[in-house]
C-alpha cells in the first residue's frame, strides 16, 4: 500500500512538474511561428498581426494544457 502510493506520488510529481515549462514554451512557440510567418513567409507585409494571432493561440495552448491537467478523472 505505502509502496504503491509512493510510486503514484512520483508519477504525479513528474507529470505536474511539467506545467510551468509547458506554459512558457507554448507561448514562445506560438510567438515563434507567428514571427516566422510574418517576417520570412510574408516578408513583413502582415507585420504585427500574425505574431499577435499566434501569440493568442500559444496562450490558448498553454491554458488548454492547464485545463486538461485540472480536469483529470484519475486523481
Amino acid at each position: 500500500m505505502s509502496d504503491n502510493s509512493r510510486k503514484d506520488t512520483l508519477r504525479l510529481l513528474a507529470q505536474f512538474s511539467t506545467i510551468g515549462m509547458t506554459v512558457a514554451f507554448s507561448i514562445f512557440i506560438g510567438v515563434g511561428i507567428g514571427y516566422y510567418l510574418d517576417h520570412k513567409v510574408f516578408a513583413g507585409r502582415t507585420s504585427p498581426w500574425l505574431t499577435l494571432i499566434f501569440l493568442g493561440l500559444g496562450v490558448g495552448a498553454a491554458f488548454k494544457n492547464l485545463y486538461d491537467m485540472a480536469s483529470r478523472k484519475d486523481l
Binding site: R11, S17, M21, F25, S26, G60
Partner: protein
Amino acid sequence: MEHPILFISLILQNLGLPVPHGPVGDTLLAKLVSPHMTYTWLVMLFLIIVPKLTLGKMSLVPGKGQNFWEVIIGGLEGFMADNMGKEGARMMFPMLATFALYILVANMIGLMPGFMSPTSNLNITLACTLIVFFTTHILGVKFHGAGYIKHFLGPIPWLIPLMLPIELISHFARILSLSIRLFGNIMAKETLLGILFMLAGAYFAPLPILCLGVFVSIVQALVFLLLSILYFSAAMEHAH
C-alpha cells in the same frame, strides 16, 4: 573560469586531432571528436562492455552479476507495465530501456572529475527528444491509421480551426520542455560543480553538490522515461 580538463579530449588532442575548444567544432572531424560525442561513445562502450563482463554465462539460478541486471531490467519493465500496460511495455521496452540506461549513465558520468555528461549538451538531449517525438506520432498512425488526426481536432466540430493550431503548438512545446529540462538540469549540475571545484575544491566544497548531483541524475532519467511513456500511451489510446 578555468577550462575543465577532459581526459578523452586531452588524449585525442595529443594524437593530433582537432578537438574544438568550444562546445561544437567547425569541420566534420572536429564535430566528431568534440567532447559530448566522445563521451557519448564512452557511455555506449560502458553500456555494451560492462554487462557483457558482469553477466557471465546466463544460468537458471542467477549469480551475482546476473541478479543485478535482472533487478534493473525487471524493475524497468514493471515500471513501464504499470504506466502503459503489458502489451505496450513489451513493444516499446527495447527503446525506452535504452533511453533510461543511457541517460542515467550519461548523467552520472559527469560526477567524476575528468569526465563530462554528454547530456549537458543540448544537441544530445534534443536528439533523444526528437526520436521520442517522431516515435509518438508513428505509433499513433500505426494504431489509429488516418483516424489519428482526431487526436488533434478536439471534441467539437466547429472549434476545429481553433483547436488544430492549439494542439499542434502544445505538441511542439513537448519537444522543447522534454529536451530543455534534461539539458538544463544536467548543465546546471556540471557548471556548479566546475565553479565550486575552482573556488574551493581543496576544502571539499563540491561534496554536497555531488550528492545532489546523484539525486538529480536519477530523477531526470526517471522523468524522461516517465514522460516518454505517457506520450506513447496517450498516442496509443483512443481520442476522447
